[in-house]
């Protein structure tokens, strides 16, 4: 068992390289950059997750679903603010397309992963596993780092090793 996990770690390091930043990870043609969740205020029933998804391939992929254990449900949402200043938040039932050769950023005021009815409040410093399901690249579990919203999802050297299980 021990040998197996050491081997797996070694393989992971070889496959994904020392160049990847702390908790960035690669699945197929997709590179997931700085997955983070905004620390939720006490009493808040929801939380939002953000990540940059870079598609290094030529064909489009699609983020279809998101799963987690710390909230009852997770969805992919889009925020828009119209000319009259009205904010709308809507689920994306068809998911989110990641065009070939492009990076789609989930960021505040735009797309977010919506965690509804959080059972455990995400607090800055937590690392929370979240599974992202892509149409072509498959499933990947990414560790999302919880940061205070005021830190704006700035890249931090958390010194933590990424953990991942791809495919299923």
């Amino acid at each position: 068992m021990r040998l197996f996990s050491t081997l797996a770690l070694a393989l992971a390091l070889v496959a994904f390289g020392g160049a990847a930043r702390a908790h960035d990870l690669q699945i197929g043609d997709l590179e997931l950059g700085h997955p983070w969740i905004a620390e939720a205020p006490p009493g808040a029933p929801t939380a939002a997750g953000y990540v940059d998804i870079a598609n290094q391939g030529e064909t489009p992929d699609r983020l279809l679903a998101v799963r987690c254990a710390f909230a009852e449900r997770a969805e992919i949402h889009e925020m828009t603010i119209d000319d009259a200043g009205t904010m709308q938040m809507r689920p994306l039932p068809q998911g989110l397309e990641i065009p070939g050769g492009q990076t789609v950023k989930l960021e505040r005021g735009g797309f977010h992963l919506m965690f509804m009815h959080v059972m455990e409040r995400p607090v800055a410093g937590d690392m929370i596993p979240v599974t992202l399901v892509f149409e072509h690249a498959g499933e990947v579990e990414a560790m999302f780092m919880v940061q205070k919203a005021a830190d704006g999802g700035m890249e931090m050297d958390d010194g933590m090793e990424m953990e991942m299980e791809s495919g299923q």
């Binding site: 029933p45 929801t46 449900r73 603010i81 200043g85 009205t86 938040m89 505040r108 977010h112 919203a149």
Partner: protein
């Protein structure tokens, strides 16, 4: 004769159009929020704060105020804006000590006084959460020419979202509308507007 009258009339029309366009340009040039922030924003309301005290439009008199509409089920624009407001207050320091901040829930069904107290207190002890009955909420939304609409998610879970005005309204010490700060404003732009508000109050 008739032709001449027609020409004069046309001339007047053209002149009016040019003047109208110029007035519009001037208006939009003054403030990029002119379109979403007519000057008759503000007016009567009766709400309850997180401590159980009644707050009305009278409480806005004598000091500048910020008024922001939102709901705690929103994990993105609402908490980001409250975090930004807290940062503006820090930046202003003593200069902003008279500035009152009101967070008005557009979702009183889910946002109880207890939830609201914890929620706004997390960002700043200076933020006052305002909650009302459905009618009271409708009244303050109407007074501020704001917008709030429930949108059911229609997925059988009973969850719903709220479309709502996302701008922060700046009210002067007479309780009149002064300006607005939109979501995309930079911290520098926001603090500059707040300094103008404080100077004018």
């Amino acid at each position: 004769m008739t032709t001449r009258r027609l020409v004069v009339a046309l001339g007047i029309l053209v002149l009016a159009a040019v003047l109208g366009a110029a007035a519009l340009i001037v208006r939009y040039g003054e403030s990029d929020e002119a379109a979403l922030a007519p000057v008759d924003i503000g007016g009567p309301f009766t709400m309850t704060d997180q401590y159980g005290a009644t707050v009305t439009e009278q409480d806005l008199l004598g000091h500048p105020s910020l008024v922001f509409f939102g709901f705690t089920f929103c994990p993105d624009v609402c908490p980001s804006t409250l975090a930004e407001i807290a940062a503006w207050l820090d930046e202003l320091g003593a200069e902003g000590e008279d500035l009152a901040v009101y967070f008005v829930t557009v979702d009183p069904a889910r946002d109880t006084a207890e939830v609201l107290g914890q929620y706004v207190g997390y960002f700043s002890p200076r933020i006052v959460a305002l909650r009302g009955t459905t009618n009271q909420t409708d009244e303050i939304v109407a007074s501020y020419k704001a917008y709030a609409k429930r949108v059911d998610m229609g997925d059988g879970t009973g969850d719903y979202l709220m479309d709502h005005s996302a701008a922060v309204y700046l009210m002067d010490s007479k309780g009149d509308f002064f300006d607005a700060i939109i979501f995309t404003a930079t911290p520098e732009e926001a603090v500059a507007k707040l300094r103008k508000l404080i100077a004018a109050s």
